[in-house]
Symmetry: C2
Subunit: 179 residues, 2 copies
């Protein structure tokens, strides 16, 4: 199973591809950050994020995309940007019929460190160990994207297979309409 | 000047096209709502909104897109969906090099009714009068989309011309990069 994890953000959108199955050693296929300049206007930043994510999907052909679920209890301005960047990631994946799962930050932390309240350093250390890397991926957004992908591989493999079948089916018959 | 107004939302995304210039009678070119089913998954709802907005852009070829600026002091869950729907509208317009302006709800209300605290009925009544319609557009999201377009036409025509030149220029040279 190959998963693209996306830690959404307007300034730095972490992306990481992990391959493997639950219970076996995992392999990092790629990791990076899609950046957009803070002084660009919002529309152009979203276009740049779309282009960046499309490149990752083209190059790595993931079967699943895992995106961090955004909450609004954090800083108000950041959250709106994060929600908008996550919308672009969801759109890019769903347009291709790739199933998308949303995982909360605490689900991801719990999956890779055993604690939902682990800090950035702990997540980075475990990602490094689990993927047998020589050093923690930088910046933290990149490590978080890999952690999301790992979390997704480890959670409910049966559910993933079902979701993939549903996503492929519904991609052929979009449900929206214009009235 | 032809403007597409978008009142973003996941369940109902209001869209309205108005043509005219400040100081002259305005004309409604089209109005409607892009709907997505509440029980569909988020990714597919965003894809459906993208398809709906693309159809409006294809059919009406607006020179500007005006989107409601989202604030997060409202209901938390609604706001995240609104932010994500607005991201899709911004993305669709910016991808085509169409300049996008964000207007706050109070700017829009003040533009069409003279009061930033006007209610839905008042906005609907003024939209009906200003566009010489026989009845207020339904639902309110559709009327709000028209009010956004009117607000945009009336605010700073000179600024619109400048913004259009910049948007066309930057669309040719997107600023994002993948690292």
């Amino acid at each position: 199973m190959r998963v693209l994890g996306v830690d959404p953000g307007l300034t730095r959108c972490g992306v990481g591809v992990v391959e493997g199955v639950a219970g076996r050693p995992l392999t990092m296929i790629g990791v990076g950050v899609v950046r957009t300049p803070a002084d660009a206007d919002l529309g152009h930043r979203l276009v740049a994020i779309e282009q960046g994510i499309e490149e990752w999907l083209d190059e790595h052909r993931p079967e699943f995309v895992a995106v961090e679920r955004v909450f609004s209890q954090h800083n108000v301005r950041t959250v709106m940007g994060t929600a908008q960047a996550s919308a672009v990631a969801l759109l890019c994946a769903s347009r291709r019929g790739i199933p998308v799962a949303l995982h909360t930050p605490s689900e991801v932390k719990a999956a890779v460190t055993g604690s939902g309240r682990a800090d950035k350093a702990q997540v980075g250390a475990m990602v490094t160990r689990l993927l047998r890397l020589s050093a923690p991926p930088k910046p933290a957004d990149a490590a978080d994207a890999l952690a999301l992908a790992i979390c997704h591989i480890w959670r409910a493999p049966a559910q993933n297979r079902l979701q993939r079948a549903v996503a492929l089916h519904t991609a052929k018959a979009p449900k929206g309409r214009t009235a």
